[in-house]
């Protein structure tokens, strides 16, 4: 059950910096997959779409456009269109990668090499903090430092500490929600595979639940990618829009 991690440690000025090599590999693989999919789906564009790939990409872009325009005016939110598109594609591909199979090295530690990169808290928390830092950056850039600082004292001044703590809560829940869903899904998948490997009866009994759980994991992966992008855009619109 317990899988080892291929950890590689490197000392920077006496401080150990740890890399999980399988996570690094899976990040590179999912980035490559997203790049190649987006690259080859947007070749030979035409005003009247002929192939399926252009139609699919247009549907996806309209979907992301709907997410953004549900939260803020398109004049302000249009610049986040490609950010949200990249984010939703990356998280979706990353969630899907761990589902069809896993590769566990045949050594004594059972090192897990193939998994979802989002089943690692460092990846999801990095993505979440990136989005939160971006909300602050665009809040200052689009509304000015004065309005940004004043937004902490809205609606009354003693709300400021709560608003300050809220930023860290957003960061933590945004990252841990994605991580927890994907990690718990993978743990349950490996438990079901262990049941199937235990014997003939276990194989018969575990086959249907495994397929059901894989189907449900696809649903969870889609919903989590949607919710991550949705909440990022909600947090962005809190900082960016100046209607209150």
């Amino acid at each position: 059950m317990e899988h080892g991690n291929p950890i590689w440690t490197y000392d920077v000025f006496g401080l150990p910096v740890t890399f999980n090599l399988s996570t690094v590999m899976m990040i590179i693989i999912s980035s490559l997959v997203v790049f190649l999919v987006a690259f080859f789906m947007t070749r030979n564009l035409s005003v009247r779409p002929t192939g399926k790939s252009q139609v699919l990409m247009e549907v996806l872009m309209n979907f992301v456009k709907g997410i953004i325009s549900g939260n803020m005016a398109w004049k302000q939110g249009g610049r986040f269109h490609f950010l949200a598109l990249t984010l939703i594609l990356y998280i979706f591909v990353a969630n899907m990668l761990g589902l069809p199979f896993a590769f566990i090295a045949p050594d004594e530690e059972h090192t897990l090499w193939w998994k979802s990169p989002t089943a690692d808290p460092s990846v999801t928390l990095t993505l979440a903090s990136l989005m939160i830092v971006l909300t602050h950056y665009y809040g200052i850039k689009m509304r000015g430092t004065k309005a940004y600082l004043k937004s902490y004292a809205q609606p009354v001044w003693f709300m400021a500490p709560f608003k300050f703590i809220e930023e860290f809560t957003y960061n933590l829940t945004l990252g841990l929600r994605l991580y927890g869903n994907i990690y718990a899904g993978e743990i349950l998948l490996s438990l079901l595979i262990m049941v199937m490997a235990s014997g003939a009866l276990g194989f018969v009994g575990g086959f249907i639940p495994l397929m059901i759980w894989q189907g449900f994991s696809i649903y969870i992966g889609v919903i989590q990618a949607f919710i991550f992008v949705m909440l990022s855009m909600v947090y962005l619109s809190h900082k960016v829009s100046d209607d209150h």
Binding site: M1, E2, G70, T173, L176, R177, Y179, G180, N181, Y183, A184, I187, I223, F226, I227, M230, L231, V234
Partner: protein, 72 residues
């Protein structure tokens, strides 16, 4: 052995609370949609945001219970 008990209690209570909360959200959404079917799209979006916010807490509890199970 005691940590397994702790894992069971933590995961079970988290699932209990989260299922009640998500049930309330979805039932209210169904109520709203049946009252005003043309508001289905926005209501579904708000419902998914609400589910996402509620779901974060039990998922954190599940992660904590996995940590309890494998680390100690």
């Amino acid at each position: 052995m005691m940590n397994l008990l702790a894992v069971g209690i933590a995961a079970g209570l988290a699932a209990l609370g989260a299922s009640i909360g998500i049930g309330l959200i979805v039932s209210k959404t169904v109520e709203g949609v049946s009252r005003q079917p043309e508001a289905r799209g926005p209501l579904m979006t708000i419902m998914f945001i609400g589910i996402g916010v509620v779901e974060a807490v039990p998922i954190i509890a599940i992660v904590i219970s996995f940590m309890l199970m494998f680390m100690f």
